[in-house]
């Protein structure tokens, strides 16, 4: 009879294991406790780090909601994750369950498309930037939310969902109590700040909001000194006339706009509502935004249209911190009350 087991399977290495396990345990304990000590003595805070799986759980909660028409899906990238305070928003709209589906460094076109395909009938608030309409191939690759949608549909659909959610809960507990202190939190924020300063950090919230803390370690004066050049640009609209440099660029833009418009129209046809929002940033191309929302024929809110929002400072020039996020969310909620479908 054919056999696929080689004789080597029956051999066990002739070794003693005592030294192996003893050294292994010491090495593991030293590395784990060392890293724990390093993080815990630093300014970072134990938290359950955000991940694609937490995004997928959030999407799963949205899709499984028994009253989809009452739900609000907040889409976007880093500006939305840092600049939208889910707690404040929930206080303003207690009867509208809100799901934060923004993700750092990833534009929300793929998520919008997925919601359109699934005939989503709730409200979609999209923190959007005109630059996402027609990005360079490199940016399109790196900054798509399609991998998140793929993970949700392939791994978090109905198959094995509960096991993965259980796994995520265990992981979150381990992060908070054993290996917590998401290493990347200060590193990534330092990248955003364009300076390797470990004292600036964010704390991931259960809602997936990221509360950014810059001011705890920098006084406004220090920030001005550090980022003065960027902060000096206050709500500037760059002079760019015409909006597109070439006819080809305009046509490429038109094609992409048509694709996004199809998704918006599909959600509207399913009974849903779409609102595009521009969150605070110190440099914004207002004419391009206006052209975009006109072509998309979509309800929109630009922060420059909310006078009080002009006073909020982005400590790094393009992202709100936790204070700014709470203030802006209140302002946005007030504005949304005029836009949201009754």
């Amino acid at each position: 009879m054919p056999s696929s087991i080689s004789s080597s399977n029956h051999r066990l290495p002739k070794i003693g294991y005592r030294a192996q396990w003893l050294t292994g345990a010491i090495v593991f304990a030293t590395l784990t406790l060392g890293l724990s000590w390093y993080y815990r003595t630093g300014p970072t805070q134990a938290q359950a780090g955000d991940s694609v799986y937490r995004w997928a759980i959030e999407m799963d909660r949205l899709m499984a909601h028994p009253a989809p028409k009452t739900t609000i899906a907040m889409l976007g990238a880093s500006r939305a994750q840092l600049g939208f305070d889910a707690e404040v928003f929930a206080g303003e709209f207690p009867d509208r369950p809100t799901f934060l589906l923004a993700m750092f460094g990833k534009n929300p076109k793929a998520t919008l498309h997925y919601l359109a395909e699934e005939n989503y009938s709730g409200t979609v608030i999209v923190s959007f930037e005109p630059a996402w309409i027609n990005p360079s191939p490199g940016r399109a690759r790196r900054e798509s939310q399609q991998p998140l949608v793929d993970i949700y549909t392939s791994m978090f659909g109905n198959l094995g969902k509960h096991e993965k959610i259980a796994n995520e809960l265990i992981r979150a507990k381990l992060q908070q109590h054993v290996h917590a202190w998401n290493y990347s939190c200060w590193k990534s924020l330092a990248h955003v700040l364009k300076r390797d300063h470990p004292d600036a950090f964010w704390v991931d919230q259960p809602s997936r909001q990221r509360k950014a803390f810059y001011d705890r370690f920098f006084t406004p004066a220090q920030l001005e000194q550090q980022y003065g050049r960027r902060l000096a640009i206050r709500w500037v609209t760059p002079q760019q006339t015409p909006l597109w440099k070439t006819q080809a660029a305009k046509e490429a833009w038109g094609k992409q706009v048509a694709t996004i418009k199809r998704d918006i129209d599909a959600i509207k046809a399913s009974g849903g509502q779409v609102i595009f929002v521009r969150l605070p940033i110190h440099q914004t191309n207002r004419p391009l935004w206006d052209e975009m929302v006109r072509e998309l024929d979509v309800d929109s809110i630009h922060f420059l249209d909310i006078p009080a929002a002009r006073e909020i400072r982005c400590p790094d020039g393009s992202h709100l911190n936790h204070d700014g996020a709470a203030t802006f969310t209140r302002l946005l909620a007030n504005e949304l009350k005029h836009h949201l479908r009754k």
Binding site: M1, P2, S3, S4, I5, S6, S8, N9, H10, R11, L12, P13, K14, I15, G16, Y17, R18, A19, Q20, W21, L22, T23, G24, A25, I26, V27, F28, L31, T32, L35, G49, S51, V52, Y53, R54, A56, P137, G138, A140, R141, R142, P147, S154, M155, N158, L159, G160, E163, K164, A166, N167, E168, I170, R171, L174, Q175, V178, H179, N182, S184
Partner: protein, 474 residues
């Protein structure tokens, strides 16, 4: 349930504790069978029914084949077994592929046919357990084995959770005799099993999953890439697929060993292969030996004319490619390996006697050439379409003027992991993993394993639900 998840680690620890506390061997086997069904059901409970169908059908058909004296009836029962197993596999894995090709064919003939699309979910591991149960009935048909006397043992053979969803493909003759005698993993077996699980988990979480985003950033976009990016993506995939699949097999072998069961080897440092027949003696051994024993040899193997031998090789590899997935790109991957094997046979005839080829530098050169050819074949395995594969091949052969977009640290990661993988494979090419490990002093093994466990823990806490193993889709 994924091996690289906390839920599995808790599940496995609980299984170990409960099974070791059971005194009755039958009770232990029943418990292992029950938790194997639970393990499978964690993904999709209704698909356990498929496992039951396969188990019951082959159990009864194998007995019928054995007891029947009429050749006609024996053949009929064998065809029934093939029909049930390959029918399920065909429906779940190949139905859409078949219909899509039929639609394309009818449209090329001018027929406007648009059948409703079928939403079929591929049951995890169906290709693996189908081949296992098939080998059981075919061996009994060939009178190379007799039906096993205990249904519980047989059901456990089909369902045993460490190897259920991604192999190794175990033969009944290797597994069933292990169920006969009550046994418990010895202390040495348990410790070596645990060591293997750590090594496997490290390969998966620390290497394969680290390289995955680099591979995706190159392969998931069907645009042209720079020469450097294309090679970086392909080398990264070569290492990723090895560490992913060999990692899974190593965890499976280790987990089974902790429970006292021995599973066959599935890999033997394949990237140190010199030539393609050597490669297939090192890569996915349980599949290649299955294809050899149940397809290549029945077709005539090498005991026929040269031309027929080449045909048999090509056919076996084409079907091997199709086994991996319902796509023409997999068939081309298999076809490429088939043609590599044929070419190697031809070249061996002409060049083998020359002493030059046996020299050390020449061996390294041949090994490098084999690896490069294997990498080119991986392009078809990974690419989502022929267009994407063509673009990638063009980029890898320097026919693209694109600038590199991969960050430097990604390139360095690819260089590091590829270099270490190739180095380890070359160093260990004539040794077993046990021999390689036994050469190291205890403190060094501990240092390596401690660092590996730390890397696994750090990656798993950072990564979340765990990335699925690539071979789950096959």
């Amino acid at each position: 349930m994924l091996f690289n998840s906390f839920t599995f680690l808790i599940f496995f620890a609980a299984v170990m504790v409960v099974s070791r506390s059971m005194k009755s061997w039958t009770l232990r086997k029943s418990f292992l069978l029950l938790i194997s069904y639970l393990f499978y059901a964690a993904w999709n409970p209704p698909f356990v029914i498929l496992l039951w169908i396969s188990t019951l059908a082959d159990w009864h058909l194998a007995r019928a084949i054995h007891t029947s004296d009429s050749l006609r009836r024996r053949r009929l029962y064998l065809w029934a077994s093939l029909g049930i197993n390959l029918g399920m596999l065909g429906y779940f894995k190949y139905a859409n592929f078949f219909v899509n090709n039929l639609v394309a064919l009818s449209q090329s003939l001018g027929l406007d046919w648009h059948p409703a699309t079928m939403s079929i979910v591929l049951p995890v591991g169906i290709s693996f357990y189908t081949f296992q149960t098939l080998s059981y009935t075919i061996d009994i048909y060939r009178r190379k084995a007799t039906p096993w006397h205990c249904f519980l043992d047989y059901a456990l053979y089909v369902t045993f959770f460490p190897q259920l969803v991604a192999g190794p493909i175990v033969r009944a003759v290797d597994f069933l005799p292990q169920c006969d005698e009550p046994k418990r993993a010895s202390r040495k077996q348990f410790q070596w099993g645990l060591t293997l699980m750590i090594i496997g988990l490290f390969c998966k979480t620390a290497i394969a999953d680290t390289l995955a985003p680099i591979v995706e950033s190159v392969y998931d976009f069907q645009t042209a890439h720079s020469f450097v990016d294309a090679w970086a993506g392909t080398l990264a995939f070569s290492v990723q697929i090895f560490c992913d699949f060999a990692g899974y097999s190593t965890i499976a072998i280790g987990a089974a060993l902790c429970l006292g069961f021995i599973l066959p080897d599935n890999f033997h440092f394949p990237y140190a292969a010199i030539g393609f027949s050597d490669f297939w003696r090192r890569w996915h051994l349980s599949l290649s030996t299955w294809l050899r024993d149940y397809l290549y040899i029945p077709l005539g193997g090498s005991r026929c004319s040269k031309l027929k031998t080449y045909r048999n090789l090509a056919l076996t590899m084409l079907l091997g490619g199709l086994w991996h997935g319902a796509s023409w790109t997999f068939i081309v991957w298999g076809g490429l390996h088939g043609s590599y094997l044929v070419l190697e046979q031809l070249l061996r005839k002409w060049f083998a006697p020359q002493r030059l080829w046996a020299s050390y530098p020449m061996q390294i050169l041949l090994c490098a050439l084999t690896f490069i050819a294997v990498c080119f074949a991986w392009v078809f395995f990974r690419a989502r379409s022929f267009h994407a594969a063509g673009t990638m091949i063009a980029s890898m052969t320097g026919q693209s003027s694109c600038a590199s977009t991969l960050p430097t640290h990604h390139l360095l990661q690819v260089l590091l992991f590829t270099g270490v993988t190739l180095g380890v494979h070359w160093y260990s090419r004539n040794k077993t993993m046990e021999e390689t490990f036994a050469r190291l002093p205890g403190w060094l093994r501990g240092l390596i394993l401690g660092a590996m466990v730390f890397a696994i823990f750090a990656e798993m806490t950072a990564q979340g639900a765990g990335n699925a193993f690539l071979y789950f889709q096959f």
